[in-house]
Symmetry: C2
């Protein structure tokens, strides 16, 4: 689920790592901690780290690095490697990063990405940065309405999606139109033969891609949501804005670093 620093005591001991850590050991840390270490390195050291980490860890780490530095790292990496890492990143994070690159470099990298991931990112690049479209991710789980609870659970067993995608499950019709939402808990508690359309809540709050990110944050805060679906003019599900994006948006700059420093006393 999460693999933070190996905190065997309550989180009051100093972070165990700074610059002296060998690269092999780095990979054992949580990506958010690797990012902290990377931010203290020279440009050459950073490139070496992103060459050596496995692709998934590299992607998770890169999206935790300060935005300006993300673009610098991607510019310094060989193009093929950079494209591989971008493919593994959350599509919204990859789009934000690409937006910070010169147009020529951006197009080269998108051309090198797998077609499906490239299309996701290119769609996200068409929305203004401060809109729901600009902060949403196109990774989400959409269940066809004709599935039963048991079939939906089998689908999850087969696909083994990232846990973060399983908190809200969206139900869509054959035209991808958003019909309702349910939680994995609803699916588990329901009797196996029930259709997901009978379990789902059809009164679903949704926004358009043009909704401002402040309005999205307000809705997520007001209704204590973990995510808010984004639909197009035909009501088709295009993506979701998740609560961690809202936290990121509202967090006073420097707070993310606070934990490390404060706990290091």
């Amino acid at each position: 689920l999460v693999e933070p620093l190996e905190a065997t005591e309550t989180a009051t001991h100093p972070p165990a790592v700074r610059l002296t850590i060998p690269h092999q050991k780095l990979a054992l840390l949580h990506p958010a901690d690797i990012a902290d270490v990377v931010e203290e390195m020279t440009a050459d050291e950073r490139v070496a780290v992103f060459q050596q980490l496995d692709i998934e860890t590299a992607a998770d780490t890169l999206q935790e690095v300060e935005p300006e530095m993300q673009a610098a790292i991607v510019s310094d990496l060989p193009e093929e490697r950079a494209a591989d890492i971008l493919e593994e990143m959350d599509p919204d994070e990859a789009a934000d990063l690409l937006q910070d690159l010169p147009e020529e470099r951006r197009e080269e990298l998108v051309d090198l990405m797998q077609k499906e991931e490239a299309q996701d990112v290119e769609e996200l690049l068409t929305y203004p940065e401060d809109s729901a479209g600009g902060i949403m991710t196109s990774d989400f789980l959409a269940l066809p309405g004709e599935l039963t609870a048991a079939q939906a659970i089998d689908l999850l067993r087969e696909k083994k999606p990232d846990p973060a995608l399983t908190y809200y499950l969206y139900v869509v019709d054959p035209q991808e139109k958003l019909e309702g939402v349910l939680s994995l808990r609803d699916l588990v508690v329901a009797s196996p033969e029930t259709r997901v359309t009978e379990i789902m809540d059809p009164n679903i709050l949704k926004v358009s891609a043009e909704t401002s990110k402040e309005d999205v944050a307000s809705l997520i805060a007001k209704y204590d949501l973990l995510a808010l679906p984004v639909v197009d003019a035909r009501g088709r599900l295009r993506g979701t804005v998740t609560v961690d994006d809202v936290v990121e948006l509202m967090l006073p700059r420097g707070w993310k670093k606070r934990s490390g420093r404060t706990l290091a006393r």
Copy 2:
């Protein structure tokens, strides 16, 4: 899962309700919307609403009302009714509310509450308001480590816990010591005979009740968590701080109301 305003279009139409809505219709709204309406009422109207709503809706609504007004409403309600509503509230919200009442009134109400709920709230009242203990909830799901995945799922089917409690499942030993965490998705994907201790992530980040709420917010933001467990000196699980508390903490005052106003254009 959530029952916001019945938004059949994307959320751009004006909120349909203000003061003229009959009480019976009020109960059909999302508690966060009922709270908005209640805040515009006179003290007498408010008391009438909280007498008429069913207990669960009354509790969900009260915790969405501005903190100062919550205390005023509880002071104006008959004691028995107030105690019933407090029992149904999230323990952390009930404790915050009781903290705003005069000591005598607070003690009377706690005495009228069911023993179990009263104990939860009294424990929470012992922590400073700006600490992890002060913002945590004592509602969480703890699974005994000897359960198999299938047994844990059966337990969920039987208890039907609130979906918000099922995103992270905590594994504890017979002394309530926190041993690890897993997601419901991990449970669903695992083969049925696997023990939860084999599925869980034992590298779990946790804080003590004395940790400052800013440090808690930083950790949740840094590691993109939905909740952070709070343990006592013996490592026993006492509660969890959830991401919606962090959003609440960071939200600029007035933002929660923004959605209604902005979308009403």
